[in-house]
Each structure stands twice: as C-alpha cells, then as structure tokens.
Symmetry: C2
Subunit: 328 residues, 2 copies
C-alpha cells in the first residue's frame, strides 16, 4: 500500500505565515500588461515580487522563520548563508525584531546585495565560493555565538513564508474570477515554488505549476524528470546569481515532486530579453534570477497560447552596470 | 459680488471617465516602501502610473476623449501633437477604436517614444522644436483629413480622464482608512494635476495638492504665485522631455489656481537621484518627467516629516542609454 503524501507544509501553515507577515511585508500587486498579452497570445499576470521589502520574496520566509525564534534565544541573534537575497531578507527581518544578524556571503556576490545587506545592519562575512564551505562557516559562527541559523529554503517555516506569494496570487485570481492554467516561479533551492504550489493547488487544483531555472543550473528540471533529487551538471556560468543551488532541498523537493508538472530552463540571452522587455514595456526592474519564469514564457518554453498564465518575478536586486548592459 | 467657481470638470465627469476606461486602462497600484518611509520620515504612497498602458497616465485622457468622438467622425481619424507620452496614449487609444492616428512629434523626442508611437500603428510626423509650430502643423493635417484633434491637456474630457489617477488614489486611501496630507503630481500643461486635484479634493478636502516641475520650466510654480497664467523663463534645458510646456493651460489653470496650494521645482540632478532611488530600492523604472514629484520629496522641497504623502509617478518611457546614465 502506497504511503499517503503527508505534506510538511499545509495551506494552514501558509495562512498562519500570512498573518505573521501582514504588518511587515508588502502585499505585492498582480500586474497585467496588454503588451505582454498581445506578444504571447496568453492572458498573463505578473506577481511583482520585485516590489517586496528588500527587493525579493526572501523577506517573507526569513521573517516568518525569525518570528518563531523563542524570546530567550533572540539576543544571541541569527546567522544565514546566502548569495544575496536571503541575506537581505534575514538582515531586514532581524532588524525589525531588534536581533543581531551575521550573513555569510560569497565574495563574488553582486556589490549591491552586499551593501544592502550591511544597510539592514547585518555583519557580512565573505567566503570563497570555490574553496570554502559556507554552511560550515555559518555553523561555526552559530555555535560560537549560540545564534540561530536561518536556512535559505529547506525549512517548513521558510517554505510557508514564501508560500504567501502563492496565497496572494490565489486570492487575487479568485477576486478576478479567473482560474490560472499555469503558474511559473523561479527555483534555486525550491522554497518559493514549493510554497507557491501548495497555496495555488489549494485554491486551483487543476493549475499546472512549473519551476524555472537557468540552463546548466537545472537541478529541478532534472530531478522532476528523474523522480528523485539530482544535482545540476555544474557546467558553465550563469548571470542568475540568485539561482545557483546545486540540488533541490529535501523538504522542498518532496513537495515539488508531488505538485509540479515540469521544470523549464532558459539561457542567459533569454533572461536578458526578459529583463529588457520588463524595462521597456513594464517599467519594472528584475534581476536575472528574478526574470527566468518570464524568460521561459517569452522564449516559448511551454505552451501558453490561449491560456491564463501567472509568472512570479521573484527579485530585482541587480547592479546598475549589469542592468545597463542587459537593457542596452 | 464674486463669481462662484464653476469648475469645467467635476467629480462626476471623472467617475464617468473611470467607467469608460475600466475595461482598457490598468488600475495601477498605490505602492508603499519601508525604505522610502525611513528615508523621508513620512508615510509615502507611490501611485505607480509608470505601470499604465503605454507607460504613462496619458492613455487615460486620450482614451476618454477619443471614446467621445461620434461614430460618423471616426473613420477620418485623430491628430495629436506631443513630445511622446500623449503621442503613445493617443496612438494606443485610436488603435483600440480602430481609428487612424497621426502624431506630430519633435524630431528630438526620445527615440523609444517615437518607436513606441509607431508601434501602436500611428503615423509619426516630425517637426523642428525651434523653428516650427506643432499646433499649426497638426491643424493643417486635421483640416486636410477632416480628422479630430486630441489636445494634450486643455480639454475637459482629457482632464477628466487624467483625473481617474486621483480617483483611484482616493479610493485606495479610503479603503486603507488613511487621509493624505499632501498629494504631488508632475505638471506640464497641468491636466494630470488638475484632474487629480479635483478627485482628491472631492474625497479629502483638506489635502494639500502640489504641482512639480523642472527648474526653469516652472510655469505652474510661477503662475500659482502670481495668481495668473505666466510662461516659464525658458532658460536652459531639462532632461524632463515630458514637462516642457511653456505656459499652463487655460482650462487646467482655472482648476489648479483654485485647488493647488503651491508648485515645487527640482533640478535635473535631483531628478537623477529620484530615478536611481526608484531603480535601486523600488525596482521601478521612471522617466525624468515622471519622477519630479518624488524628486521634490527626496530633496526636501516641502515639509513631509510625519505626514502622509502621495506621489504620482506619471511615466516611465525613458531610453536605455539615458536610464543607464542616471542609475550609473
């Protein structure tokens, strides 16, 4: 007899996270664009999570997790490792709670992400992505200081926080009286798409949910095809600095294997097209990793014609020089 | 005995325009930003009209006006003169109605505005801003073709259309249960601020409404001080290509003289700071003319501390090269 699927995160967990987040997170708008509809032949809604506090969805999960830390453990602070968006989410959430935060970031993270993380009052510790183990560094710091580690994705409270993105989409679509056919969200560790899928499926069981990744960093696409967690091929580079996780999370993938229909991937050039389109026609700033789901739509990586498609724009923390190059 | 003020545009006109626009215009969000609140000490709401169809508020007035053209006059089409945003608004509105549109644009208008106007199916006729009279050119074309001129601002239907920006702000603030202390909107001919002021004052009679202009192109600030329409000094240049009208409109100024508390002005450098802030912290693209109200807030051109301030970001049609320069 097959074991029934017992999800680690339920719609009730996501609704609880929404209540925790309500006074602090931006309820980001679901935008539509006649230009985008005309271009794709689909009815497209963009969840503009670039407008979220700290410039990405990561604030949601970080704030939900940090809010759960018991009062007596708060003075010791939090530790996180992140290439930049989770860093800012944790730093901003800790600052709101008056807690010290230490963030372990790769030395090659975008300058603006490092600066903005410090701007939220966090201490930033840099490491070499090629030679050092960021999790070991974070664990050492946490042990020395008795601090709490805020993991980037593989945690039910983090996933529930990110799931509020999906909950807001579901509420807005319900208010519009429209059922989404397809919902696409970027994936690195898979927390955003797992939480979003959980919330969307609760309201719209027939919606197809897809993860979007950069070519080469396609561990979700590969794992969904294989039916088990598989690392990406780790070949080449990507401009999507936010989407470089090596393998899906254990907790996130258990959800995603159940709820996602497929993973799609895009090239850097396709991401550039999406960012330039957002600049020119939507007047929104997206970072490369934040634009992969839109890039997949624009590049025709799935059949969207005649369908109602929701695209999550997950973040907008991009250096001015990189942005200028992509829109130029 | 003083003549009572008989406004040419009423809140009923604006509500009628809202009904006409509902299926076609984007209901743009009113955004808040903890970063902006912290920076200014005010509670700030941004009316993100950069997200409007055609990238600026101009679609609203143009669509409302064009919708009023009698059926028998539609085949002859419309003619407009504009530096770019009204051009796109008229072109897009005419396209929706299946009407031909001819737009008289200055040869030095931003390339993206010319291209986008053509993209909406309009014929673009270029003129020299220094030596030719755009209104005369437009009149000649209109007479030859029996076409209807869609004026940029000095028309009650145009003003009522732009006023839906204020109506949406008033509705959203009412839903939030918050009364705005100050509302600031960019001004060129004054249609946007006149319509917005009419709608805001109907809901919040105590709100102070201000126009924002580039230094040197300060005809509203000067006229409001003088109590009568005065041209700007026409000295120097501005990066705010959308805000170069010489003198307030007659109809718009009759409204603005009654409803506005003052006009504020900003330098190009202050506009650049606002655009870079929007890019970095809000992930929104604004054009120079669209960012003057925010520039005035950030530069401390009026006392905002402790107040609830609504800023209209009126447009985002900026060339990539100019944008890259301003955020770099």
């Amino acid at each position: 007899m097959t074991q029934p699927f017992r999800p680690s995160v339920t719609i009730a967990d996501i609704e609880a996270a929404a209540a925790v987040l309500k006074p602090y997170a931006v309820r980001t708008p679901l935008l539509s664009s006649p230009a985008l509809d005309a271009l794709t032949g689909a009815r497209v809604f963009l969840k503009a999570e670039v407008l979220q506090r700290t410039g990405s969805f990561k604030f949601r999960g970080a704030f939900n997790k940090i809010s759960s830390i018991p009062k007596k453990a708060r003075a010791a602070g939090v530790v996180a490792f992140s290439s930049g968006n989770h860093a800012q989410g944790v730093a901003a959430a800790a600052q709101i709670h008056g807690m010290p935060a230490t963030i372990v970031m790769p030395a090659d993270a975008p300058l603006s992400k490092r600066e903005r993380t410090k701007g939220y009052g966090a201490e930033v510790v840099l490491y070499d992505r090629m030679t050092e183990d960021r999790e070991a560094i974070a664990r050492d710091i946490a042990e020395q200081r008795d601090a709490t580690i805020v993991p980037p994705y593989d945690d039910p409270l983090i996933i529930a926080g990110q799931g509020t993105v999906g909950l807001e989409i579901a509420k807005d679509m319900t208010a519009l009286g429209i059922a989404p056919d397809i919902v696409v969200a970027p994936a690195s560790g898979g927390g955003l798409v797992a939480g979003t899928a959980t919330a969307i499926k609760a309201a719209f069981p027939n919606a197809a949910i897809m993860s979007a990744e950069p070519d080469g960093f396609d561990d979700h696409a590969r794992s969904l095809r294989a039916g088990r967690r598989e690392p990406h091929r780790a070949e080449g580079r990507t401009i999507c600095d936010a989407l470089m996780a090596t393998i899906p999370g254990e907790i996130t993938f258990a959800i995603n294997m159940k709820l996602l229909s497929q993973g799609v991937t895009v090239t850097d050039a396709e991401v550039g097209v999406a960012i330039a389109f957002l600049f020119r026609d939507l007047k929104l700033v997206a970072e490369p990793g934040g634009a992969v789901a839109l890039a997949a739509l624009l590049a025709g990586k799935f059949d969207a014609r005649g369908k109602t498609v929701v695209i999550v724009l997950s973040g907008g923390n991009v250096d001015a020089t990189m942005f200028a190059r992509l829109i130029g």
